[in-house]
């Protein structure tokens, strides 16, 4: 039994079958990539995992509990964090505050007032956030406005915000989209480090085969809303079905 | 500890003691009342709408105030109604054009914005900052009631401007406030017989009423008075303030069985509702076999101008009109017209009178102390021809409107009321209303505890100290 179990998920948008009978089991502490051509249903699937969309049928279980019908923040509180295609950070806040917020969320749940305490009095939270910033090498930027960071730094910050919550499952939606090769490699390196330094499950949705094959332990190929193949990377590379899905019948 | 601070005295004292540069702490314990004028000037506060719907009335009021101040100080081209102002015994006013009690009159102006908060803020600044000893003005009843209460608390006099609702001298009456304008009840009492005479005694009336205090009291006053002469009230519909387009309120009128429409609106609302009513053909319509008629209880020339052609032939009431033939009215019209080039409005007239009446009362009392002024304005005369215990107060003549009583019991003014009609053939842009009847004061008399005015108490005059 994996940490994330997707069973018989179907989702239709009008006449379009976006997801058809998706079954997926993701083992704890593994890195699992989901790839597929454009329109294969990757994003729809991801949105179903985080509560943004509710499948028509089927179930999605995280650690044995259904995530369906829960709000995004409730799903996060279960231990799922998400990295977006374009980094979603709090642009108006400082880098340090950006990391403090998820710390507080982890400790206090979805809402607590703290209306009168001073932010800097939260010694344990401050220490946690500082340690996290250190880990992603951003301590020198802690007082900068997050919006003024470079794209790569924003990605690292977002990663830090996710990791500081010690999630059990990290969902990454094309984490290197739009990045130069050097930045991509840095990101790969960062993800590797993360994986090595703690127990964590990662699900990566990615276009870039370089990233996928550098990181993934298992790969699911999605085509036209259904899983085509699921296997270890070595077997996916030369798989005829995969080539067909990507290149069409001409191959 | 002091109440309102007293700037004028302090100024002179401060200048005198200034050389020592030693701080001197004053309290106004030493003074008998708020803002006692100690220099050679006295400060009055003219609080009128300068923005909002009644800004034109406010501007006309300010003109009249300036004229009144000129006349009081004796610096004008003529002496205006100082020449005609008489007491009950026929003697002339004690005002001589030498200021008030020998002090030159100065004034500050403020904007009420026709808003209770803004008007009170403006009045407080006049009292606290400028040291005004009397506040006057206003062009709506809400403001009058609010500022009157403020003056009572602060211990200065309030001489109401244009305020027509019964409440000003009814449930919200205050000892420090006096009203020269007539009121809703008087409009009803004056209009009803004229209307019965012109349109017959078996009319069915439909009311469109502005949905606020003045509307309520006026509607009640008119409907009770007209029901008294045999009319029937078909329906009363409240309309929001600032409605603009009244079509949806007007269209059901003809189907309701009514043959008369009473528009209890004032200002822009009145202009719009009347214009709309005429557009909807109400004046050409027939109902119950009679010509359909429209009545507007409170008229003002400035509004008549806004309504243009539509006003022709429509009955209403007004406090004063420049075409009145009596000497005082003519003197005032000439004085105002010469200075400004057009005749004064009723709003201008009423505030001019209020200023003179205040000055005269101070002069007679020999003091600016509000309690003394109130006593002087409460007088001890009575109007001839009215048999009532409450017919006591200060009686004067020669300010237009004939013999007039400031009734001691509720500080309401009693005088003849004008019933007017939109003129069919105006000779100029000012000549919009014609006086149809001057309703004698006896006909608009009521007792202070009349149900339409019940629930108020004057309380004691407050000198503020």
């Amino acid at each position: 039994m994996g940490i994330l179990e997707v069973k018989d998920v179907n989702k239709r948008f009008g006449g379009l079958q976006a997801l058809g009978n998706v079954n997926l089991s993701i083992a704890e502490n593994s890195v699992h990539a989901i790839i597929g051509p454009n329109g294969a249903g990757k994003s729809t699937l991801l949105n179903c995992l985080v509560g943004k969309l509710i499948p028509d049928t089927g179930s999605v279980l995280f650690d044995g509990q259904s995530v369906l019908g829960r709000k995004a923040h409730e799903i996060n509180q279960m231990g799922i964090s998400r990295v977006f295609q374009t980094p979603e950070i709090f642009g108006d806040l400082t880098v340090f505050e950006n990391v403090m917020i998820p710390c507080l969320a982890k400790r206090d749940g979805p809402f607590r007032m703290h209306a009168y305490e001073h932010m800097m009095d939260e010694a344990d939270i401050v220490a946690q956030a500082a340690a996290m910033l250190d880990e992603v090498n951003m301590t020198d930027k802690r007082d900068m406005h997050a919006a003024s960071l470079s794209r790569g730094d924003k990605r690292r910050l977002e990663m830090a915000m996710c990791l500081v919550q010690q999630p059990r499952l990290l969902l990454l939606d094309e984490p290197t989209a739009g990045m130069a090769r050097a930045d991509t490699n840095n990101t790969i390196e960062l993800l590797r480090q993360i994986k090595q330094s703690r127990p964590i499950t990662m699900v990566i949705i990615e276009h870039d085969m370089h990233v996928v094959f550098s990181l993934a332990e298992r790969i699911t190929v999605l085509a036209q809303g259904s899983p085509l193949v699921e296997d270890v990377p070595e077997n996916i590379k030369g798989h005829p079905k995969v080539q067909e899905a990507y290149l069409g019948h001409a191959a | 500890m002091s109440n309102f601070t007293r700037r004028r005295l302090l100024k002179t004292s401060a200048v005198a003691g200034g050389a020592l540069a030693l701080p001197t702490i004053f309290t106004s314990r030493a003074h008998a009342f708020t803002n006692e004028p100690t220099g050679d000037t006295v400060m009055l506060g003219f609080n009128v709408p300068q923005s909002g719907a009644y800004a034109d009335e406010g501007a006309d009021q300010l003109r009249a105030y300036e004229l009144a101040v000129e006349h009081l100080n004796g610096t004008g081209a003529d002496n205006g109604m100082l020449e005609t102002f008489r007491y009950a015994d026929g003697s002339r006013t004690v005002l001589t054009g030498n200021g008030i009690l020998g002090k030159r009159v100065e004034y500050v102006t403020g904007d009420t914005q026709t808003n209770t908060d803004a008007s009170r803020a403006s009045a407080r600044s006049m009292i606290e900052k400028d040291g005004a000893v009397m506040i006057t003005g206003g062009s709506s009843s809400g403001v009058a009631v609010a500022v009157q209460a403020l003056c009572q608390e602060a211990g200065v006099m309030f001489m109401a401007g244009l305020t027509h609702a019964n409440d000003t001298t009814g449930k919200d009456r205050r000892a420090n406030g006096f009203r020269h304008f007539f009121n809703s009840y008087m409009s009803g009492a004056a209009l009803a017989p004229v209307l019965a005479n012109a349109y017959g005694a078996d009319r069915k009336a439909y009311y469109l009423t502005a949905d606020y205090n003045w509307g309520y009291t006026t509607e009640q006053a008119i409907s009770e008075a007209t029901e008294g002469v045999g009319w029937e009230t078909v329906n009363k519909v409240l309309t929001p303030l600032g409605q603009g387009d009244f079509s949806s309120y007007l269209t059901p009128v003809l189907g309701s069985g009514a043959d008369t429409l009473v528009l209890v609106h004032y200002g822009g609302d009145m202009v719009n509702s009347l214009t709309n009513a005429v557009q909807f053909g109400l004046r050409e319509a027939q109902a119950n076999g009679k010509d359909f008629q429209i009545v507007v209880p409170l008229f003002s020339r400035l509004m008549a101008r806004g309504a243009g052609e539509n006003i022709k032939g429509i009955f209403g009431s007004t406090n004063w009109h420049w075409s009145l033939p009596d000497e005082a009215s003519q003197v005032f019209t000439r004085s105002f017209g010469t200075k400004y080039g057009f005749p004064p409005s009723q709003a201008a007239h009423t505030v001019y009178c209020q200023t003179l009446l205040y000055a005269d009362a101070v002069e007679r009392a020999g003091s600016f102390n509000p309690c003394a002024v109130v006593e002087a304005l409460e007088g001890d005369d009575s109007l001839p021809g009215i048999d009532s215990a409450s017919n006591r107060g200060f009686v004067f003549d020669g300010l237009g409107n004939g013999p007039t009583l400031y009734r001691a019991a509720d500080h309401q003014c009693f005088k003849d009321v004008l019933v007017v009609r939109g003129k069919e053939e105006p000779e100029s842009e000012f000549d919009l209303l014609e006086v149809v009847e001057v309703t004698p004061v006896a006909q608009v008399w009521y007792e202070p505890d009349h149900p339409q005015f019940a629930g108020g108490q004057l309380g004691e005059c407050n000198p503020g100290a």
Binding site: - | S51, D211, L238, G244, T251, P252, Q279, G281, A285, N310
Partner: protein, 343 residues
């Protein structure tokens, strides 16, 4: 039955004004992405175009009539309009009489210039600023324009009659077989309704059938892409702003005989027209028109005596009540698109 027909007529009329203003607001919002709080004042400016033209035609010189006297007893000065002196009393009289329709000719260039100057001089710099800033700067502009109107025209409403030919009313009820005097409707209001219908139709046709309109519609859908195609969308947007100002101005000109123009009439319409736009759905032209008529009709029904008697004060709050309900039930208004103005 007759009462209902009457209120529908009233509602259509009120709705025409709402729809015209909301249409202009939506044009500006949809194309330029700007929330224009000065739009109500543009409506007022239009109405004052009619006032100005009437004043212009009535501009007079005075001759002294010795036989009559004025209120001070001096010889009466009689005002003779120049147009009557120059063109004879008939032609001059007709000109004055028809000043409202003629004001359309004045309002089109005036409002276009006002709109274009506003866009080039002010609004242009606010495309990339937050909506709150746009609201505030246009709100400031509205206050300024309103004060300028007041400075020249005073605070009291100024009557601007419709031409004599349209001044009366006709008995609509008789045509439908009701008793006389049950459904009476003024000609001018029908003119207004027809006028609004023409303008609304014209705008939709313009957007649908001209290349210019197509580009603008494309721009409303996706501004960046259209910009990338190398089309000078900015210039077109300037023209759209001018057009929206003209629509608001014309709505104002024709409205002048219905409600005497007053310097703060713009603000009175502003809040309402925003409610209309939001109920219709920000950025949706058909939504704006639909909501305009819908709210007009609902408001008319709510002001029926019987309804007020049932629920006191309903006429005061109905518009807002409808707005609240619509927004809670249909989060983006009746016909709004997703993601517009939610940040």
């Amino acid at each position: 039955m007759d009462a209902i027909i009457l209120q529908v007529l009233n509602g259509l009329d009120k709705g025409s004004a709402y729809a015209l203003i909301a249409l202009g607001l939506t044009l500006i919002f949809g194309t330029l992405g700007v929330v224009n709080f000065a739009h109500g004042v543009l409506f007022a400016l239009g109405a004052f175009c009619a006032v100005t033209l009437q004043a212009f035609f009535s501009a007079s010189f005075s001759t002294v009539d010795e036989s009559r006297t004025d209120f001070l007893g001096n010889p009466l000065k009689v005002e003779v309009p120049y147009v009557e002196a120059w063109f004879g009393e008939t032609v001059g009289g007709v000109l004055i009489d028809w000043s409202v329709p003629l004001a359309i000719l004045l309002a089109i260039p005036v409002m276009a210039v006002v709109g274009i100057v506003m866009e080039r001089g002010l609004i242009k710099h606010f495309y990339k600023r937050p909506h709150a800033d746009q609201i505030l700067v246009t709100f400031g502009l509205a206050i300024v324009l309103q004060q300028i109107i007041k400075y020249f025209f005073g605070a009291n409403p100024i009557p601007v009659p419709a031409p004599d030919a349209f001044r009366g009313s006709f008995d609509f009820g008789v045509m439908l077989g009701f008793d006389p005097f049950t459904i009476i409707y003024p000609y001018w209001r029908l003119v207004y309704f027809g006028f609004a219908a023409v303008i609304i139709g014209g705008i939709f046709a313009f957007l649908r059938f001209t290349t210019f309109g197509m580009v603008v519609r494309a721009g409303m859908a996706d501004r960046e892409t259209v910009g990338l195609l190398g089309i000078n969308i900015d210039r077109r947007f300037t023209i759209m702003f001018g057009l929206a100002a003209v629509v608001a101005g014309l709505a104002g000109v024709m409205y002048a005989p219905i409600v005497a123009p007053n310097y703060d009439m713009g603000m009175n319409f502003l809040v309402l027209s925003f409610v209309v736009v939001v109920v219709g759905g920000m950025g949706s032209l058909p939504g704006a028109v639909l909501a305009g008529f819908l709210l007009g009709i609902i408001e008319s029904f709510a002001s029926m005596g019987a309804v007020i008697a049932l629920i006191p004060g309903i006429n005061q709050v109905i518009i807002y009540l409808v707005a609240i309900i619509v927004l809670l039930v249909r989060p983006r208004g009746l016909m709004g698109r997703k993601g517009v103005m939610e940040d």
